[in-house]
Symmetry: C2
Subunit: 388 residues, 2 copies
Amino acid sequence: MSSKQTDSIGIVSPQIQHFDEPLPLRSGRSISQYDIVYETYGTLNKERSNALLICHALSGHHHAAGFHEGDSKPGWWNECIGPGKAIDTNIYYVVSLNNLGGCHGSTGPTSINPETGNTYGPDFPIMAVRDWVKSQYRLMQTLNIPYWAAVVGGSLGGMQVIRWSIDYPDLVKKAVVIASAPKLTAQNIGFNEVARQAISTDPEFHEGRYAQKGTYPKQGLMLARMLGHITYLSDDSMREKFGRELKTGKLSFDFDANFQVESYLRYQGEQFSSRFDANSYMLMTKALDYFDPTVDHDGDLVKCLSLATAKFLVVSFSTDWRFPPSRSEEIVQGLLGARKNVSYLEIEAPQGHDAFLFPIEDYVNLLTAFLQPEKKENSLELRGNSHA
Amino acid sequence: MSSKQTDSIGIVSPQIQHFDEPLPLRSGRSISQYDIVYETYGTLNKERSNALLICHALSGHHHAAGFHEGDSKPGWWNECIGPGKAIDTNIYYVVSLNNLGGCHGSTGPTSINPETGNTYGPDFPIMAVRDWVKSQYRLMQTLNIPYWAAVVGGSLGGMQVIRWSIDYPDLVKKAVVIASAPKLTAQNIGFNEVARQAISTDPEFHEGRYAQKGTYPKQGLMLARMLGHITYLSDDSMREKFGRELKTGKLSFDFDANFQVESYLRYQGEQFSSRFDANSYMLMTKALDYFDPTVDHDGDLVKCLSLATAKFLVVSFSTDWRFPPSRSEEIVQGLLGARKNVSYLEIEAPQGHDAFLFPIEDYVNLLTAFLQPEKKENSLELRGNSHA
């Protein structure tokens, strides 16, 4: 673990880029103007050839590494981004943004809708992964970045990486898809639907117009997060973390939190519901459900991935049951079928889906090797062959 | 599938037994008087040696087989109970009851508390599995049944079977523990806690006193059931059942149910919340969380199971991830360690945890063989040996 400020990139500040050109969306709607908040770590080299894009997951944001002035907690992926770390800021100029529809500074449901003068709330359009990628492309242009040396993302972030690789194949040299899936299963969608129902049936939700009503669907968002949290952890990691430990040493025969795991989940839900916007959560989960890059390619993953030209690294984690290794292997099979350059590793890790955030040795070494600018990583490389 | 009325036991009627002797409970509390509703199928033989007890799971009840007058839907385990079925009513006198704390006729939160004249509501004591077993023992006495030829249960029902086998070892000849676990994991408890929070944070819950307030926490119960339902099905069975089929053939870019799985879960939640009591659901999940038969035996499953004298059949299902085969194997290892007579089979079945309700051929054959009154089932028997 290396979240100490000393080996971090230190103090970072977010920047905001305003866009005036309307962004047409997958849904047929568009956003007339918008802001994107982002951070950069490291230095863009003279050749402008070392830019690396981080795509965030469901509840992520632009603050991926370093510390905001006065904060004691670093960015969400500080373990893996920094000088000498897996995503090495001595080598790369890292760009990390908050996606549209989020609630951390980029235009989203809590922003003012210029057409009404009120917050967008539930009127903010549902975003598709390709819409985010398009907005990231525009940010890239304003930063005068000619191409990405690498695009990197875990979970929903990995889906953005896939979309980048087929929508802008010439602009992505390396693509790192971590703990992701080519599309959600019915079970995944089911969990998201329970989360959305928890939020939307909270009487304080008011069909998403809680801001105007002066309310907030805190309980619903809390439930959604508690549920999500269970799916991010492995059964094993929960066993190790909590076992069946009792809070007070004995059963209370009431409905207070008796077991440690209960109070942990309540705390996590409570924390999250204080800092995340319910409409954002609703639309982020929809983007997950809707993601299917094969939709314009007769449902054929090989056909769709044929468009890509990047070198791929696909990573999965042994105890991840939200997006288990078999889902990553579907992506790998698609890439191999399309005769693309792909390295794949399933990392042994007890942390479940959340493993992608941890500096696990094999994982760090793998990322480091793949992201080496010059060295070849032949030892990990598979091209058009079947894999173990 | 054999739910046709023709090979069912036909019309059945529930009976009610009243008990006046107070029932002391694990929690230290007691119930002063209570009713138990039950059904019987088949005929008690002259020797009174063919009685078989069915223990129900979380949302089950006494109506396990046959049809109530006028109903088109049979009991919940009609596929497996009836003449010539796995639990053969030509052989056995089957007794099936609704557990205390439930909401189908036995005394529970919706019953009148004689001390107050109001419904118990949240004042109904939290039941432990051993309390249910004790109440089942009393019912057995009133029915003048000297011992059970077999006690059978799936999931939470299997936990009652384990408790029967150690609390009344002389009264259980055969014990059938299906899709169960020796105790819940932190993940299991986590899911139950989210369900309880969904119910208890519903503003219509009023700390369980919704009956007095004239409200009902329907949304909370609906959410609890949607979540539960996902955990009863396997990822595979959901994929087969729904895939990513869209209700209307295209994405709607709104928060209506787009995918079939979403409307299915909403429907299931809706149905369940119309027929189940929220306080009952709360206490049934607590009984699950609290179950740990080793608690009086230094946490040692072998030591605790040493008390049993029954012949055991333990059954698990390959795609059950709520109580996966590994959990059944813990029970088997405990029994083997205690040198008990145990047969174990993991049944290949796509249905997940719910598989235990289906008449899957291998499963039916296994139950039939194990429940044969005379024949030996040596082929399946393991005694004190390690197993595959």
